[in-house]
Symmetry: C2
Subunit: 552 residues, 2 copies
């Protein structure tokens, strides 16, 4: 039996390879996470986000597939950091898979300890949707990034980025969404990336318009597009720790600055003076020295970002911990600019809004086109949603199983879930749909440098909420539930949970979807009510969501 | 409405104050945790273990009781660090209460950060069974302590402590079990306690035989009992950091040394030179200074323990982090003696054994007497269990609702659960029974200084297991499930989970009990199989418990 790397692709169509859709679904979604069209480094089982893996190793991959094929409708598979460790008898309302990834006891929650345990084969880095089998390619982040830039446009530039220049770095699995998100908002983007292959890949998948020959060329291209108010994205090959200070020195008129290199993991950020070819060996051979140099470079990188802010640009951290790492690298003003959540996203979280997503297990793009139309019909009054769905249908290239993402809130998600389930039942869709979300959601994360940065009541570091989120999803009928540590911001910095529920057209699925897609976003509303956000309290009141301590 | 301290006592008998036994049970058990007979400081809502609380504040207590009275059989109450934060619609197999207590994101998992958040009213310390409503008084720890001393006797003294002297400290909620556990093993115990009231309380509840007038008196009493091979426990009022070095200096012939002061929380350990009267104000006014002094005293205390070990005594840490704190206090040899789990308990964990416990909601001691007899009948071949059950029946004074504890393993617990459920159904027992356990169990904890110290594969700090434990119990039909941080070893040092399931005599309860009481201890077997313990692998094989990665 082949236990090593091989190309993986999920089955398509309606023929089951497992005993039910509830087990076929996680099986296909795990395979889909490792599809070469989807994963950044499939041979290493790395899906996205630096070292975010789907399973611990290829033996574990084979064992999980084998167990899922055999799993009965009252059994549950347990996965510990990408390794299947048990199959236990539960019941038909229970999840078919329960996953805990990368979790460490607090005093041991450091990168060196994690790497030691990882090298001993005892854990893996699950990121958010890598180890929880609901990554859907760059589209997953595209919508959130699009909404974030739309909020920037709203706040500073009269609702459009037309005639503005955004500078950022990183064209990886997530970061690659940035250029398209900027051009969708009619702006101009200049994106710095050290690795030419990564940049090339974004051009191929239509996320990036073009790659410049050098920095001078890049600057002249973006400035002329900016002058013409013409949407354009340009990649430039270089190290952000060198290019951003240089842009600042030259006084280029930059309007918006952010970053999406893999700064959360210092071994995944290339220090100045190191080549892409030397990277892997150097990081493996001397992790401590590499970390120090990466943090020093991040300090210079972030200092340039603060420089742009001083010069009047809109600057924000896009959730990769670069401020924290730059601070460790000795730069004191690192936290002078805010994270994107308090700056733009928290009001949405108060409404239970977050990155709702779904994938067609049929593999048929037409199924997604039909669900797109269903969403437009379900929420006709939501113009922003309609604009996104139409644009996504036209401009997003699918990777792996066809899928869609859009932000929906409390009181909305379950309507979409029930509708999709009906469409499966009636045969309008050719196979079941899986419905999940990113861990980055309104009520599923504790992450003081990102999702819970600067909470109104100071509860940033309280980690009870993601645990309650995982427990309530497990208790509500989700098909698989995951609980991770680290994610996008790194070891020691976050705890977060995910859920995926299958719409297989049955009545039981309808009941489960109704509960999960009500309770899961309800956690976002409850968490923000508890923190004192008025918007969340009004949402709770409007939907008669009871608040126990408000009744006395 | 009275929102302040008041005496709390659970209802007895069969009349429901809530809508079903599944909600009446957590309601009575929460009240029972705060019964003045049970809790150490009920007015402050502190149940045991330093500052282990049942609920955040009295308003939260009232709100939880109100919600439990109204909760339907398909609803779930969410509790975030002792505060009720939501009621969501789930289903009849789902837990009625889900609890997450004291959890913090890793980089913020420190005592100062915890105390800051606690003082802002955002969290509380849940300990293990305090915030999860299944503390049953000192008996809870008695059996574990009895078994531990039995293991010591087995290892070093031919199976009995007769003719040996054990020195320890701390006569609090848990520590108070030590003198009785030693005399049950036929030995002599000298227990140091700073607070005369605490010592007095143990005499009243028959856990401690007598209190000496001073150290000289204490020494002469225990040495004469030791010479006569007569079981005896003597308390002495004093500070362990002074008394232990003094005993060592005098060359008293001590055979066994351990400790159960509240060392895990440096504000709950009294430094030398501070009086009990000054304690609370001083710790509140100058927590940092107090912490430094407490750690310095612990360093002297542990240095004496190591001194006894050097002199040939059996010395072990009994799970209160005193070694870690002494190390922080500057004593380098603190980890020279082992924790009790690797020393005596791990082989039991490999069999899925752990502190199984139950309480009679009727309040009728006769119900427990009947379950005692049922246990003896169910496991006639287990002589050690029989010895414990008989001794407990004779010598343990109930606190609050009558209850019993005994260690049962994988393949045993569900038999007891099903039997009790039948006895409720047939009317043999006068009301339902709740069945739970301590968080300190075979497969529910990650705690590198205690339950997972020195794991064979080095996986001490991997925290996926307690999370999977909470998720699988939630997915198996437990009535309430809890996920805590800190517990007996303190902030930053552990993650652990608990479950309680109600035997109300229904068929549904039988199904739930069968699954929960199989899957919960199965986690212990699976965790130790994964870590490479042969004993665990044989248990899995003997019971046909599948190991996914063993099949290829
Ligand atoms: N804001 C969000 O919602 C969100 C969501 C997911 C992930 N993230 C975070 O965003 C970051 C990027 O994620 P990803 O999936 O794209 O990671 P990735 O590892 O796939 O890509 C990172 C890219 O950065 C490039 N890079 C590294 N060092 C560089 C340097 N010095 N200069 C220029 N380029 C450099 C790498 O070559 C790579 O292409 C991660 O930290 C991730 O955790 C944020
Ligand atoms: N091994 C286990 O299974 C286990 C289980 C539960 C708790 N614990 C741990 O055991 C410890 C004790 O728990 P507890 O519930 O009895 O706590 P507690 O706070 O009720 O009692 C601690 C006692 O220690 C006394 N004390 C404090 N400083 C002292 C000193 N310098 N000298 C002498 N006495 C001193 C206090 O007066 C108090 O009576 C805690 O750290 C707890 O976390 C261990």
């Amino acid at each position: 039996m082949n236990a090593g790397p091989r190309p993986v692709r999920a089955a398509r169509g309606t023929e089951l390879t497992a005993r039910s859709w509830a087990t076929e679904a996680p099986l296909r979604m795990l395979q889909n996470n490792l599809d070469p069209e989807v994963a950044e480094r499939p041979d290493d089982l790395v899906v996205y986000g630096g070292t975010g893996k789907a399973v611990r190793d290829w033996n574990c991959f084979d064992a999980i597939i084998r167990e899922l094929r055999n799993l009965a409708e009252d059994e549950t598979l347990l996965v510990q950091s990408g390794k299947p460790v048990g199959v236990l008898r539960t019941h038909e309302w229970a999840p078919r898979v329960l996953i805990a990834n990368s979790n460490l006891v607090g005093d041991w929650a450091t990168w060196p300890e994690f790497r030691k345990l990882e090298s001993q084969g005892l854990t893996m880095y699950g990121q958010m949707t890598a180890g929880s089998w609901i990554y859907i390619g760059t589209q997953g982040i595209l919508q959130g990034t699009y909404e974030t830039f739309a909020a920037v446009a709203q706040k500073r530039f009269g609702g459009t980025l037309a005639g503005t220049l955004t500078v950022t770095a990183g064209l990886g699995g997530m970061g690659g969404a940035q250029p398209l998100a900027v051009t969708m908002n009619e702006g101009v983007a200049l994106v710095v990336e050290v690795d030419r292959e990564r940049a090339q890949r974004r051009v191929e998948t239509r996320y990036l318009d073009e790659i410049a020959d050098d920095l001078d060329d890049a600057i002249s291209r973006v400035l002329s597009a900016k002058a013409d108010r013409r949407a354009l994205s340009v990649g430039v090959i270089g190290n952000a720790a060198e290019v951003l200070p240089e842009l600042l020195r030259r006084g280029v008129a930059v309007d918006v600055v952010t970053d999406q290199t893999s700064a959360h993991d210092p071994l995944a950020y290339l220090p100045k003076g190191v080549t892409v070819e030397e990277w892997a060996d150097y990081a493996a051979a001397k992790p401590e020295e590499f970390t120090t140099r990466a943090r020093e470079s991040m300090a210079e990188h972030v200092a340039a970002m603060v420089g742009f802010q001083d010069a009047g640009a809109e600057v924000f951290d896009y959730g990769n911990s670069i401020r924290g790492e730059a601070q460790l690298g000795g730069y004191e003003r690192a936290f002078d600019f805010p994270g994107f959540v308090p700056a733009y996203i928290r009001p949405l979280f108060c409404e239970g809004k977050g990155p709702f997503r779904w994938a067609a297990l049929s593999g048929d793009p037409e199924d997604i086109a039909k669900t797109d139309r269903a969403i437009l019909e379900l929420f006709p009054e939501n113009a922003q949603l309609a604009r996104w769905i139409k644009m996504a249908g036209e401009r997003v290239a699918f990777q792996g199983l066809p899928s869609r993402i859009c932000w929906l809130g409390y009181g909305e998600r379950h309507l979409a879930g029930l509708k999709f389930n009906e469409m499966v039942a009636s045969g309008e869709l050719s196979a079941p749909i899986v419905i999940g979300r990113d861990h980055l959601d309104c009520g599923s994360v504790a992450s003081p440098y990102r999702e819970t940065e600067a909470m109104a009541d100071g509860s940033d570091a309280i980690a009870d909420w993601p645990l309650l989120n995982a427990l309530i999803n497990t208790a509500s009928g989700a098909t698989w539930v995951s609980l991770h540590h680290g994610g996008g911001v790194g070891i020691g910095r976050s705890i977060h949970a995910g859920q995926v529920t299958v719409a297989d057209g049955t009545e039981l699925a309808a009941k489960k979807l109704e509960r999960v897609l009500t309770n899961d976003p309800a956690m976002g509303v409850l968490r923000h009510v508890d923190a004192g956000y008025d918007r969340a309290s009004s949402v709770a009141t409007a939907h008669s969501l009871p608040i126990p301590t408000a009744q006395s």
